[in-house]
Amino acid sequence: MADIPATPPVLRLEGVRRSFGIGTDVEIEILHGIDLVIEQGEFCALIGPSGSGKSTLLNIIGLLDRATAGKVFIMGADTDSLADAELTRLRSRRIGFVFQNALLIPAFTALENVMMPQLVDRGWPDEAMRRNAESLLGRVGLAARKDNLANAMSGGQQQRVAIARALAMNPALILADEPTGNLDTKSAESVLALMREVNLANRTTFLIVTHNMELARQTDRIIEVVDGRISTGTNTPLLPAVA
């Protein structure tokens, strides 16, 4: 048998730094050189004190923001050299987002919000898109709510819609910034369970920012950011990865 080339990691960070207020007298470096590798199928938590730079890091990984220095590789592709339009395409095809406040678009229904990433990517709505969105809504248990306007749903429901939306393009990596931060314990548990289910079924990689240690412990790997650095010793799985 020929050697199968090793698939590149979903994410590789090399010496990522991020400063704000560059060129002003309030210039401040938030990330001080982050090295991190995440392989396909990993289910990770990103923890750390408030203000430590978790969201800043997540935005850089999600190609919404650029590092001041260092390199970001998404599935082996060096994003440093990419123009805005190419970053946008890579983001659209490879990365899904789930934010703390689900951040659905209120002018659209649940179904339409889930269709949005594909609609944006292809330019015109079609039947396949609709069916895909319907099945995703079914998967997050909201098939019956598909025609509700985004605002007319509870926080937990909205977050489920947001997860369905993040899955629409079947991305390799889903970045979730405190997805359960605004939810009660029960809803938080079920949202996490949903993400785990997707992780197992699709080998989708998850990086979940959370302040909830209980929740973090249910992931395969906890990555801790302290003062803009990955704190040593946590960059290893705490629990054996679920096979």
Binding site: D65, I105, A107, L119, V120, G123, W124, P125
Partner: protein, 408 residues
Amino acid sequence: MNPLLPFEWIAAVRFLKEGRAQTLLTVVGASVGVAVVVFMSALLLAVQANIFTRILSTQPHIAISPPKDEARPLRDPRIAGEIATIQAPAQKLRSIDQWQKIRALLQSIPDVTVVSPSVSGAAFAVRGDASKAITLSGIESEPFYKIVNLPEKIISGSARLAANDMLVGSQLAINLGVGLGEKIHIRSATGIDEIYTISGIFDLGNRGANERSVFVPLRAAQNLLGLQGGANALDINVADPMTAESMALRMAAETGLQADSWIKTFDQLFTSLRTQTAANRAIQFFVGLAVALGIASVLVVSVVQRSKEIGILRAMGASRGQILRIFLLQGAIVGLLGSIVGSALGAGFVQLWRIFARNPDGTPFFVITLAPGLFLIAGLVATLTGLLAALMPAISASRLNPVEAIRG
């Protein structure tokens, strides 16, 4: 979602629908602007068209006459400069040399619709003691009526001109105390005196003309005015009256005769009409500007209000171009809707004008027509205005930093 619309349209329409009150206000603003422009343009066009038809119903587009004797300097080659000016002789009646040939030549020019020869001169209409100065015109009725539609202006009798018939203006008939079928003497400056029967009385819509004008057959006028076989004017109509001046210049060059277009004759009128048109343009421009500023300011606010949604769309993979187009489209749609509603409103104003703007006797001041082209142009300009108005807000939307927009 409508499968026939692309993403940008879907988003633009949704955003407009969601921002109901704002959208309504801008559409109403654009509508009022379009309505004003449509109504004013229609009114102005109608006023000008009305003036033109009035003038042209009693005027040829071009009048050809023999070259004028002009004042010219008398020079002595031995002395530099002018020693005297020979005054132009009093203009006496002269025929156009070989007018039949020239008539044929003119008729062969494309766009010349009719050439009508005539003989005109001063004369007196005499009945008993009463004697009135008149302008006597000898005409060939068939071509002449294509220029001045006398049959339409006859108020009694008919426009048919037999050998000893004459047509007189209504005021002249009153002044002389004569009616249809009665006879009067026409006496020319050369002393010739003939008797004619009034076969028709007309109203040219102008007291001066009604007081002086008398029409007789061409041959009769030739005899009376001493221009046997001659014609001292060729009246011409062309396909497009607005081209009359350039055609007149061409005819003058080709024939060596005097050719005066109605545009030259009514030069002052044209200047004032041009001023009117320019003023209308300026008003349209400022109305458009006001509408554009209205749309722009609402969209600027909308971009701020929607910055979070813009950030989400960007995180979902929407490109800057897509965001730009969503907001450009909103401007264009507002402009288009405004032009549709505004055109309807403008048409309504015109209808009201038709009902209420009437003379005391109930006849309309003049006819306003609404050309479909006007709506088309209004729609196009309004849509474009909306698009341009949206440019600045759309660019700022496309440049929003998604991270800040989402955090904000």
